[in-house]
Structure formats: structure tokens, C-alpha cells
Symmetry: C2
Subunit: 404 residues, 2 copies
């Protein structure tokens, strides 16, 4: 009874092809617009190139191999992932170099990674714990493999990573006792930094990363010819790039930036972060563009001023801000003729419903389609097993899979 | 490049079988315990039977056909779903009768449902909008099919549904003009009711549903021999059952309850709702038991008093309450020997990390496994494409698929 039948359908997938989003797709559906996607891929690669840094975009944002492929083709050095399963999934879909920005913990996870390394994956993970170093050293020695590790440098009150020089030195000593481990550099994550001096604090953290990798390199403990120094989420990538932008690093190290959200950007949280980047770099050309939207039907109009949309937490991220209504496609209109919805406002979201406050005299009907933007794209991607790439007329150009 | 290779793995799935959760599964993983699952299935069916009601559990909670199958085998009348795609997915996996508790909107969604009806699906959806009635009437006439509809009765300030008798009468008149539509009864959802008089308000709403279906039945407009009257989420199912518990309804109608979360229950939100049910019915035997947990590794111990767990918003629901640490399985211990973690507290969750406040002298190591409970199970199910059923020793009994 639980075997799928041949007529099974996945949500958001066209029922005929070629397909138009408004006419051939059971809504809701998540759409990625080709033009801003291509623009963002090129923009961020150009930004990294201009600072002499490599790009290893955080793949956990999308977990979409088709987008990883576009990132690699645009010039990315590798893909960053968060877990062993994500790393192996990326490799299974053709990604040759993975930076896992977490400790590799637990024997089944180590087994997955070791198997992938045997199949040719170039893999780096981070370490911040002496017990973990011993576990990894023992396991990979047993397998007859070398594991590349980066020491994670953290901040007080932050997430993972060594808080001080003494912890780094203890880890270096522990790694040196494990012949199966190769210390390849330093990793950090500045995204936890917040507060009134956050820009200065991120700059200082970037400098600390650079100083730490220099010190380790000088002491001869790094086992990679061009040691890796890497950091950056999607908000402060420009400040980390500045810290890495040194001739010495470009020539003798591998500085790696890891923004993830840039690939589709967003309509609020990272839109704001982009404005900050532009303010810090007035001569920077162009800027990231929002490429991800979710389309859904007006489902019920039960009271004046209230529209219920067939869109819920199962379909779109709702943090830190509720979904943002962008445009309305009247049910009776020609293909992709949209109208403005300024002043319409999302007030509440449930598993399968979104509540919109609309003017009492709003022109709206059950069956109209609304396009929504997001604030932070990550938690929209993991609602979809398949997403649609579309052109500006809403014709579907590609159906891509995600692998969360 | 984006074609999956044969070594692809999905998160939370054993890498050998037979499998033990702590030794053969890349964590994190979501687990459903067999004993409380079986208990809950029997408990809720017995509860519905005792009130002369049918059970059509809300399937959007789990979207797991293997669990739908167990619900049907326990005696459920059908499965409730929220969308056209969910309905068709359930039918593709063997569910013969589906109650879709939303309006069916948009031609591609209508096409999916009509195709499934042609393949034998017994399907009911709700209506609350005259335009939608005309759309449905036109589309299903064109297809030469009959569509069963239930009028949705809403509440002022609530979600979907008719607010008053006049709206119901307008809908009845509109449905009578569409020969392809069969008006089969009344549907409602009391889960939006809140406030100081909520229990009385839910009781009054239950009575209003019953009165409305009686009035429509008496006027001869219902086209089903035993008209359907249905409501209930997972919180107030006992109050709706009371409203439906009448000899007349049992004999001449089809009263249907639709709780969803009961199947795995939870550790906080619905645990509290269960206490309220027990307080209202002191002689009720037994109570629902939490069956769903998520297991994850301690990932980093960067500062005294802080543990970072390899578990994030991608793995577990975090609303209305953050994940609840239940037990610790020390990395060095024998199989499934767990220790208490009372006093440990989740303080923050990110996409891939959970922050735990722990005592400064806590016995904990990177690589220990923690089991977490949830507050509201729905938004944990949709993080997983495969989940593990386990026995009390954590041996895996079945790997089930979800179809979100």
C-alpha cells in the first residue's frame, strides 16, 4: 500500500511540459528567476576574484546540485556544506571539493565521509575539540586514509571554535599526534557577531584569522602548501574579503569566502545587508538581486480586509520576517500580467495558510495568484524537493531537485 | 553532473541493516517509537468509536503513507489532507477516501483531483466562495465528473469559512446551479478559537455545526444519504466529539473527527492539551503518549556551560517551543543506556546548530548523543524524507517515507 503509484505528483511540479508557471503548475510552487540568478552567480565570483579570494559558497542554503553546478561553472573553488550527509550528497552529484564547516562527529558520519574520500572526494572538515581529534585520528588511521582538518577559531559567546591561543595550541599538539590527520589551515564564522561595534568586531575577527594562520604557518605545523584561511557568511563577506585581501595571502595561502544566500539573495534581510555593503563600498558596481519567489493562490476571502492564501510554513520560510506579497496575477488576466499589491501585508502564517491584511476595497478574487518574497532564503529551499527555474515571462526553464 | 550517483545517502537513514539507531545511523535522525505509536492509534480510534464518530486524521501532520496505512488499519474512515497534491499523493499510496479541508483552487490543482477521481478516489473538498463554486462546477462538468463539496462554516476573526447563515444560503443556491457538484455536508475548524471563554466558544461552535447540517438536511439540499458533519484539530477533539455525540447523528449522519497530531503526540504543546482533555473527562482511560524524538550528536563544547548540538531548524520544529532535551546517551556507553539531562535547556537554534545551556560541571563529551522532544510535531515531520520507526532498544523496525 505504501509503494508509490505511477501517477504520484510532487508539489510545485508542472503537470505538462513545456510549462507556464501560472497555467500548468499546481500551486503553491517555488520559482527561481534565471536572470537575477545568473547575475548573482557572476557578481559574487567577480567580487571574490577582485579580492584574490576563492569562493566555496555555502551549499546548505539550497542543497540543489543544479545550483552547485552553476556555482562551480561560474568559478567557485568548491562547495561548503554543514553535515556529512550533505557533503556526500554533494559529491554524489559531482562536487569534487567540499569544505565541511563543522566537526565530523559519530562513526556512521565518519564512515560516509571516508567512503567518499576513497571515491575521490577532496574533503576538509573543522576541529575544535581534542577528543574529536583523537576519534578522527583513530578512525581514519584504521581506514588508511588522510583527513584534512582546519582548526576552527571562535569568539567568546559565539558558536563553535577555539576561544583563545591556548586552545589552538592544544589542538595543534593533538593533531600532530595523529598521523592520519593533515592540518590544512584555519576556519571561522563571523556571523554570530552582533552589537553596536559589530563592523569593527568583524574586521578584528578577520585580522585574528589571518594572524593565526600566519603564526601556524611560520611554526611549520600546516601540512598544505598554500594553507587555507576561510570565513564569511552572507552578511559580512565584504569585511572578511578585506581582511584576506593581502598579496601575501593571495600568493602563499588559499583564502576562501563562503557566502551562501547570495545565489538567490532575498527581499528583506539580505537586501538590507546588501545596502550596508554598498554603503561601505560606494564604488562597488552592481548589487545582488532577489531571484527566489513563491507563488500561491488566494484561497478564501471570508471577511472584508482579509485574504487567506494557500501558502504555509510548509511552503515558505517565515523568519525573521513573514512572507512579503510582491505582485498579484489576476485569474482572468493574460499570461504574466501582474498588478501592484503595495499596502498588502502578511499578518500571520500557519502550516498551510497565510493571512493577508488587504484594503477593504481591494481588487482580489479567489483563484488569483500572488507572488511572495522572503526574508532569508535558506528556510524556503528546504520546503521543496523540486523547484522551478523560470524566465521573466514565467515559462519554466528547468525543474531542479533539492537534497535536504 | 546533477544526476544522483548510486552512493547517494539521505539524512537520517541507516547505512547498514538491520540497524541500531546509535551505531548505524548518520545523525541527526528522526525516530518514531513503535509502542507509543501503536498505543496512540488505538487510543484515538477507541475515543472516536465511543462517541459514535468516524475518524479522518489530518494527514498533513506526517504525510507518511506508512502511518496513513496504520491509521486506516486501526479503523479510520479516511484521511484528511490540506492540498490537491497531498490528496493525490495519499491516493497514489493507497488511500481510497480523502477529505480535503480547503477549497480546491486553480485549474492544475483541479486537474490533479479530477484525474484521481477518475482513478477511483472518493474525494470531498470544502467551499466558502461563490466564484469558486462556479469554477468547480464548470470544470467538473467539462470533465463529466461529480465533485463532492462540504460548505465550510467559519468564525468571525477566524480563518476560512462562511461567517453567517446568509453566506451559507448563498453558497447553497450557487451549488444547486452546478449539476456537477454534490453538496455532501458541513465542515468546520475550531482550532482558531482562543481566549478566556474558549472552551464555551468551541462547544457553541460544535452546536452551530450540528444545527447547520440539520437545517440543510431538513431543507432537502444535501445530496448524501448520511450527510457529513466534520471538525476538530488536535486540541479540542473531545469538545467536538461531545457536540457530535447524539443518537440522531450516529444513525442518520456521518460525524467525522480530524485530529492529526495524536499519532505521535508531543512533549509540550499537545501534552498540555491532553492534560486539559483529562481534566474535562476525569474518567477517560489512558492518554496519548509522545512517540517522536530527534537524535543528534553533541558537536562542540567551546565554553563552560555551553554545548552546541548538530541539530538545527533543518532537522526539528522549533515552534512554539525550542526542542526539549530528554536524555543523553554517553558515547562510551553500552547500547541504549541513557542518562538524565534535567536542568539542561535549549537557548537558541540556527539552521544546523542548537545551543544548550548546561551545568558547568556537566558530564558531557563531543560525540555523545542527545534525544530531543518537540512542542507540536507537524513541523518536524516535514524536515525528513525518511524517518525511522524504532523499538524501545533503539533497533530500527522500519524506514518510512514522507511525501511533502
Amino acid at each position: 500500500m505504501s509503494e508509490p503509484a505511477q501517477w504520484e505528483i510532487e508539489k510545485g511540479v508542472p503537470i505538462v511540459q513545456p510549462a507556464h508557471l501560472l497555467h500548468d503548475v499546481p500551486l503553491p510552487t517555488a520559482a527561481i528567476f534565471e536572470a537575477p540568478l545568473a547575475y548573482n552567480l557572476a557578481w559574487m565570483q567577480r567580487f571574490a576574484d577582485a579580492h584574490g579570494a576563492k569562493l566555496a559558497p555555502h551549499g546548505k542554503t539550497t542543497m540543489a546540485p543544479a545550483l552547485f553546478k552553476r556555482q562551480i561553472e561560474a568559478g567557485a573553488w568548491g562547495i561548503t556544506l554543514a553535515t556529512a550527509v550533505q557533503s556526500v550528497a554533494a559529491h554524489a552529484h559531482g562536487i569534487a571539493r567540499v569544505l565541511m564547516a563543522n566537526q565530523l562527529v559519530g562513526r556512521p558520519n565518519m564512515t560516509l565521509v571516508a567512503d567518499a574520500i576513497e571515491r575521490g572526494l577532496e574533503y576538509y572538515c573543522v576541529v575544535d575539540d581534542v577528543d574529536n581529534v583523537r576519534d578522527l585520528g583513530g578512525y581514519f588511521a584504521e581506514r588508511g586514509l588522510t583527513l584534512n582538518v582546519l582548526i576552527e577559531l571562535g569568539i567568546d559567546g559565539g558558536r563553535c571554535g577555539c576561544r583563545n591561543v591556548e586552545q589552538v595550541e592544544m589542538l595543534v599538539a593533538a593533531i600532530r599526534e595523529e598521523p592520519a590527520l593533515a592540518l590544512a589551515g584555519i576556519e571561522g564564522y563571523e556571523g554570530m557577531i552582533a552589537g553596536s561595534n559589530e563592523v569593527a568586531a568583524v574586521r578584528a575577527y578577520g585580522e585574528r584569522l589571518v594572524e593565526t594562520v600566519r603564526t601556524l604557518h611560520a611554526s611549520g605545523v600546516l601540512q598544505r602548501e598554500t594553507p587555507i584561511v576561510t570565513a564569511s557568511g552572507s552578511k559580512w563577506f565584504d569585511l572578511i574579503a578585506e581582511a584576506f585581501d593581502k598579496a601575501e595571502l593571495r600568493e602563499h595561502y588559499t583564502p576562501v569566502l563562503r557566502p551562501g544566500c547570495y545565489v538567490v539573495h532575498d527581499h528583506k534581510l539580505y537586501a538590507g545587508a546588501m545596502s550596508d555593503v554598498k554603503a561601505r563600498h560606494p564604488r562597488l558596481e552592481g548589487e545582488l538581486q532577489p531571484a527566489l519567489e513563491v507563488f500561491a493562490h488566494v484561497q478564501s476571502l471570508p471577511e472584508p480586509g482579509l485574504a487567506i492564501v494557500a501558502l504555509g510554513k510548509r511552503d515558505i520560510g517565515h523568519e525573521p520576517d513573514l512572507p512579503l506579497p510582491l505582485r498579484r496575477y489576476p485569474r482572468s488576466a493574460e499570461r504574466s500580467v501582474s498588478v501592484d499589491v503595495s499596502g498588502w501585508r502578511t499578518t500571520h502564517i500557519m502550516d498551510q495558510h497565510t493571512f493577508l491584511a488587504i484594503p477593504h476595497n481591494a481588487d482580489i478574487a479567489v483563484g488569483d495568484v500572488l507572488a511572495f518574497g522572503t526574508s532569508h532564503p535558506c528556510l524556503t529551499f528546504d520546503k521543496w524537493r523540486r523547484m522551478l527555474c523560470v524566465d521573466e515571462t514565467l515559462e519554466v526553464t528547468e525543474v531542479i531537485t533539492t537534497h535536504f
